[in-house]
Amino acid sequence: MTSQGSSEPRASPYFWYRLMGRDEEGYDVYELFIGPQHPASGHMRIIVRLDGDIIVDAEPDIGYVHRTMEKLAEGREYIKNIPLFERATIIDAANITWGYVRAVEQLLGLEAPPRAEYLRTLLAEINRIASHLYGFGIAGIMLNHSTMFMWAFGDREVWVQLAEDLTGARLTHSYIIPGGVRRNLPQDFREKALKAIRYMEKRLQDYERIFVKNPVIIARYVDVGVIKADEAKRLGIVGPNLRAAGVRYDARIAEKYGAYPELEFEIPVREEGDAMARLLVRIEEIRQSMSIIKQILDKIPDGPIFHEKYYRMLPPKLKEFVESTGRLKLPGAFIRLKPEPGEAVARVEMGHGEVFYHIVSDGSIKPYRVRVITPAFRNVVLYRYLTRGARFMDLPAIYGSIDYFPPEGDR
C-alpha cells in the first residue's frame, strides 16, 4: 500500500489544482493503478489517487496502443495512408478517413461528384450510429449492465452489415478515396436500410426501458461528471461531450462538407453536462442519423462516383466493369498522387467528435507532415476534469459516458 504524505514533493499530480486556481493542498492519498491489465481500463492506464472514496486526481496514462501514425504517414504515398488512419478508429472508419481525404482533395484541387458526396455521407452516418452503439455498449458494461452491452453490440451488427453491403468490408471500409468513393449503391440497399431504421427505432424504446430510465442508471448517471459550457470550451472538448454541456458546435454544420448542407438535421444539445446528458445526446444523434440516412436515400442524385480526371484514365474494358458491377477500378496513376506544395486542413465530425487533419506537402508523392488530432485525444483531458471530487465508483461511469476510445487517442 502506498500512502503519500503531503510532505512529499510532487510536481505533476496536483498541477490541475493550480490550473484551476486552487492552492496546492495536502492530501493523504491512496494510489491505484487502473490498467493496462484491468477489466475496465481499455488500452490505457488511469492513475487514480483516492482520498477515502473521493478521487483526488485521476491521471490518464495513454500511449499503450500508439502506432506512430504520423511518422508512418510521412513514409507512404498519399493513397496508402487511408487504410493507415482508418486504424485509429476502426469502429468509425468512414469518418476518420474522410477528414484525411478532404485535406488531400484540397491539396489536389479535386472535388468529388455529388453522388459520391452523398454516398460518403451515407456511410459516415451508418458509421456514426455504429460508433454510438459501441459507446453505448461500453457505457453499459462499465456499470455492469451486461444486457445493454450485448444489445448495443448486437444491434451494431445491423449497421455493420449495412456498411458491409455498401463497401464489402465490415469495419475497415477504405471506402472514401480522393475524388470519390469505391463502390456504388447496391440494388436493394434502400429496403435494407429502411428496415434497419425501423428496427432500430423499436429497439431504442427497449433501451430506454431497460437502461436509460432504469432507476439504477438514473442514480448512477444524473449529476455525475458534470462539465459546463464555459469549461468545455476552455478545455477544447469535442463531440457529444461538448454538446451535452450546452455548446451547439458540430463540424457538420461548421465546415459544411459532404452532402450535409443539403440535408436537414438537428444538432441535439443539452444543458446539464452530466453523464446522463451525454447519453441522451447520443441517443438523439442516433435518431438524427437515421433521419439523415432516410433523406439521403430519397435525395441521392445520379451520376459518377469518381472524379472524371482519374476515371478517364481507365481503359474501356475496366470502365465497362465499373459500370456493370458498381465497383470502382483505380488507375495506376492513383498510386502516386502528387499534389502541389502547400498545406491544407480539414475537420470532420466523427461519432466521438471532431477529427482534425493538417497535411503539409512539399510537392513529392509522399506527405511532408500529416498531423491528426482525434476527438479522443482532445477529450482525454476530461478524465482529469470530470473525476476530480467524484466517488471512486463514478470512475467507470464517467469513462463509459465520455465514450473514450484508447486506440483513437493514441493514434
Binding site: 490550473l19 510521412e74 486542413v345 475537420r347 482534425f356 493538417h358 488530432i373 482532445r378 493514434r411
Partner: protein, 160 residues
C-alpha cells in the same frame, strides 16, 4: 473577408505575416517573442480553443515550425481555422507555453515536446505521453529519424 481583416488588424502590428491560403484557413507566422501576445489577441477575437499544436521539422532550414491551430465554438467563427506559427532553431527549440491562453493546448503541447523535442517553457508536465517512459532515441517526428522502408520486389532466385 471580415475575419481575415480582423486577424490582420490584430496580428500585423506584431510583425505577423497573415494570409488566407484556402477558404477558411488563415495562416499567421510570427516571431517567437510575440507568440504569446498574438495568441492572446486571437483569443480576444473569439478563437477560444486550439484544435492542434504541432511541429513541422524543416530540416533544410534547420528550423522547427511550431504551429497552433486555433478555432472557435462561436457560430460566427465556425469553419475558420487560424494557424499561428513560429519557427525555432532545431538545436535549441524553446518557446513559452500557451496553456495560460488556451488550456486546450495542454496535451498537444506535451505530445509535441515528446515527438519533436520542442520545449514549452512553463508547461507543468513535460513528460512522456504516448511513447514508453524509457524511450531513449531522438524525437521520432524529426526528419533525421528514419523509418526503414522495404521495396516491393522479393528476389527468390538469389536466396540460398
Amino acid at each position: 473577408m471580415a475575419i481575415l481583416d480582423k486577424v490582420k488588424e490584430a496580428l500585423e502590428p506584431l510583425g505577423a505575416k497573415v494570409e488566407e491560403v484556402r477558404p477558411g484557413y488563415i495562416t499567421a507566422s510570427i516571431s517567437v517573442e510575440n507568440l504569446k501576445k498574438a495568441a492572446q489577441l486571437l483569443f480576444n477575437l473569439g478563437f477560444d480553443h486550439v484544435v492542434s499544436v504541432e511541429g513541422v521539422d524543416w530540416i533544410k532550414d534547420n528550423e522547427i515550425e511550431v504551429a497552433y491551430h486555433a478555432a472557435s465554438y462561436e457560430p460566427e467563427l465556425h469553419g475558420v481555422i487560424v494557424k499561428l506559427s513560429t519557427r525555432v532553431p532545431r538545436d535549441k527549440p524553446e518557446l513559452e507555453t500557451l496553456i495560460d491562453v488556451w488550456p486546450s493546448a495542454l496535451y498537444p503541447e506535451r505530445e509535441t515536446w515528446e515527438m519533436l523535442g520542442v520545449v514549452f517553457k512553463g508547461h507543468p508536465e513535460l513528460k512522456r505521453l504516448l511513447l514508453p517512459p524509457d524511450y531513449q532515441g531522438p524525437p521520432p517526428l524529426r526528419k533525421d529519424y528514419k523509418v526503414p522502408e522495404e521495396g516491393f520486389i522479393v528476389d527468390l532466385t538469389r536466396k540460398q
